[in-house]
């Protein structure tokens, strides 16, 4: 329990630090501090309202605390271009990013773990000599380039998948849920997920493989052999169970990290997620929206770091159960 609190505090502090950095980063951007928050296109009333809400007429340190207080209430200002609250816009696109990230990570990790364990078992064979460099290459390729190649091959050339977006024009749905469960949505989702999964599978695969190789040399695996257990029991119950620990942690971290990385994938596939939103906001200098999108990504990252810590504590008895003597 003490550990959980400790990890929570740690990650919360990190998030606070990120928020602070972000605040000053946006204030120190070229231009007047007002420019960072107030759009000249707003009418005088609206401008005045913003000025008060964010205390932009006060000293910097006061502004900082007002900013934090606003954040805690989920208030991030108005988007310059969409003229809507940033929070609303973010919550609209967040599900798209979460679905994209989670489904590709699940595919990548299931495949990676199985293939990694299999490659460990195949060590020294020609398959290993071909597969490991090939996997390294997928790790080395820019995500968006993988996307471009797949898009060109499978969408433009073969015509199997739509070339971008999250739904076909002209379709209407009664609710967001219905939309996301529709075949059309999944059809649009497939290629970005495939791309992301292809890019992401390398880490769990290589991690699982090297963990397996390491664990198979552990004394307790030899002991399991001496006990006469079946090869299956030795590999699955003892070796893989131990080798999996860091991979599960990596999965949670991966959610946070690839949310950030989605920026490019979402752009390639015009996927209406938070990463693409960030890119658009930055390119049109929509400061409130950019700041909000960035914070949202940082928040997911911090949250997933915390989840990774928790998983590690739960899964490894050496951490969760103290020494008793």
């Amino acid at each position: 329990m003490r550990l959980v609190v400790e990890r929570f505090t740690h990650n919360a502090l990190a998030l606070l630090a990120v928020t602070t950095i972000l605040f000053f980063m946006f204030r120190l951007m070229p231009g007047t501090p007002l420019a960072a928050f107030i759009n000249e296109n707003l009418n005088a009333d609206q401008q005045q309202q913003m000025l008060e809400q964010f205390g932009l007429d006060r000293p910097m340190w006061q502004q900082y605390f007002i900013y934090l207080a606003n954040l805690l209430q989920g208030e991030m200002g108005l988007s310059f271009f969409q003229r809507r609250p940033v929070t609303t816009i973010l919550l609209e696109v967040l599900p798209n990013s979460v679905i994209l990230t989670l489904s590709s990570l699940v595919i990548a990790y299931v495949f990676g773990v199985l293939a990694g364990a299999w490659l460990a078992w195949k060590r020294g064979s020609w398959i290993e000599r071909v597969a490991v460099p090939a996997v390294l290459a997928t790790r080395a390729a820019p995500e968006f380039w993988i996307g471009m190649v797949l898009l060109s091959l499978l969408s433009f050339n073969a015509g199997w998948f739509p070339s971008g977006g999250a739904s076909s024009p002209g379709l209407a749905y009664t609710s967001n849920w219905q939309r996301m469960l529709s075949w059309d949505y999944i059809h649009h989702l497939a290629l970005p997920v495939l791309t992301l999964a292809l890019y992401l599978q390398g880490l769990p695969l290589l991690l699982m493989r090297s963990n397996m190789l390491e664990v198979m040399h552990e004394e307790f695996v030899t002991m399991a052999r001496m006990k006469g257990f079946s090869e299956w029991r030795i590999v699955i119950h003892h070796a893989a169970r131990n080798a999996l620990l860091p991979v599960v942690t990596a999965f949670a971290l991966g959610v946070g990290l690839s949310m950030g990385g989605n920026v490019v994938i979402e752009t390639v596939f015009s996927w209406p997620g938070i990463g693409r939103l960030l890119v658009q906001a930055v390119s049109v200098h929509d400061y409130p929206l950019a700041q909000g999108a960035f914070l949202m990504i940082a928040m997911v990252l911090a949250l997933m770091n915390f989840v990774a810590d928790l998983l590690y504590i739960v899964l490894d008895p050496r951490v969760s159960h103290g020494r008793r003597g």
Partner: protein, 296 residues
């Protein structure tokens, strides 16, 4: 005592020097670096055509979207520019970004790691807190925001990459310092009354060098990928032709739907090669310096 200490230094350097010969992976990695370095140096010779020059056919029409031919090995862009020339000249900006980021990342990481690991105490925890903070910033979004607002220049990209990547190397180097400082020759130097800084740079640092190289090699790849991503998103340096610029150009000019693979596949392959070279080299050093992993 000095004799004891000095024996440690040359063996480490010798091991670094002889490593490529012993490890075929590292050899391949280094060769890739050398080849790209040569291409960058000889870019004007290999591709005399300026990469942004707009070309015309003999009949005076714009030489747009030409398929690969002897004259234009990778064809031309939709604006009639030679893709081969762009690829060759792109090597320069890739290496410029990669090397400068690598130098900054590994030197900051090394100095911070050395100081934190060797002196410990408050300096250590302060530096490590800062490292934690840098690591909790989402990588690509941070680079985008920074370059998007500060201006799209190569040096801003290098700055952003350096700001976020130094903690990785600093942490690992710190923990390596913690073990090295307990070794007998360091003890010996301490007993003879050598100053802290002297011990740090004469006795500890040489043992850390290989790790700095590993992180430099990794940073080269990261920086190049980052530059490509940022350029692809449209926040790149508009002055320089880089691989990321080429990919962005190809993407936004519908090269994908036209199936102009010769336009967008080669830059990706080049990036992969350089990044993989970094993996290979770091793997090679790992095998020589972290024997626990050797032979497994």
């Amino acid at each position: 005592m000095a004799g004891v200490a000095e024996t440690a230094t040359p063996t480490v350097l010798q091991r670094i020097a002889s490593m490529p010969l012993r490890d075929p992976f590292a050899f391949v990695g280094l060769s890739i670096y050398v080849i790209f370095a040569l291409i960058a140096l000889l870019a004007d010779v290999l591709a005399p055509m300026p990469p942004l020059e707009i070309l015309f056919t003999s009949t005076g029409k714009l030489a747009a979207n030409l398929p690969p031919s002897l004259d234009y090995p990778f064809g031309t862009t939709n604006l009639g520019r030679d893709i081969y020339a762009q690829l060759i000249h792109g090597t320069r900006s890739a290496l410029a970004v990669g090397l400068s980021a690598a130098i900054v990342v590994s030197s900051v990481g090394t100095v911070v790691g050395l100081v934190a690991g060797y002196f410990g105490g408050r300096i250590d925890s302060l530096l490590m807190r800062i490292a934690d903070m840098a690591l909790s910033l989402p990588f690509l979004p941070f680079v985008i925001v920074l370059t998007g607002f500060l201006g799209a220049s190569t040096s801003n990209i290098v700055l952003a990459v350096a700001l976020l990547l130094w903690p990785n190397s600093a942490r690992v180097i710190r923990s390596q310092v913690l073990t090295v400082r307990e070794r007998t020759y360091v003890e010996a130097a301490r007993v003879t009354g050598a100053s802290s800084w002297r011990i740090l740079f004469v006795h500890v640092a040489p043992n850390i060098l290989p790790l700095s190289f590993v992180y430099a090699a990794i940073a080269i790849g990261w920086a190049i990928i980052t530059e490509a991503s940022v350029s692809f998103l449209g926040f790149g340096d508009s002055e320089s032709v880089s691989w990321g610029y080429m990919l962005q150009d190809a993407f936004s000019s519908q090269a994908l739907s036209r199936g102009q693979y010769a336009w967008f596949v080669p830059p990706g392959i080049c990036i992969i090669l350089i990044v993989v070279a970094g993996f290979f080299i770091s793997r090679g050093y790992e095998e020589v310096f972290m024997p626990r992993l050797r032979g497994r």
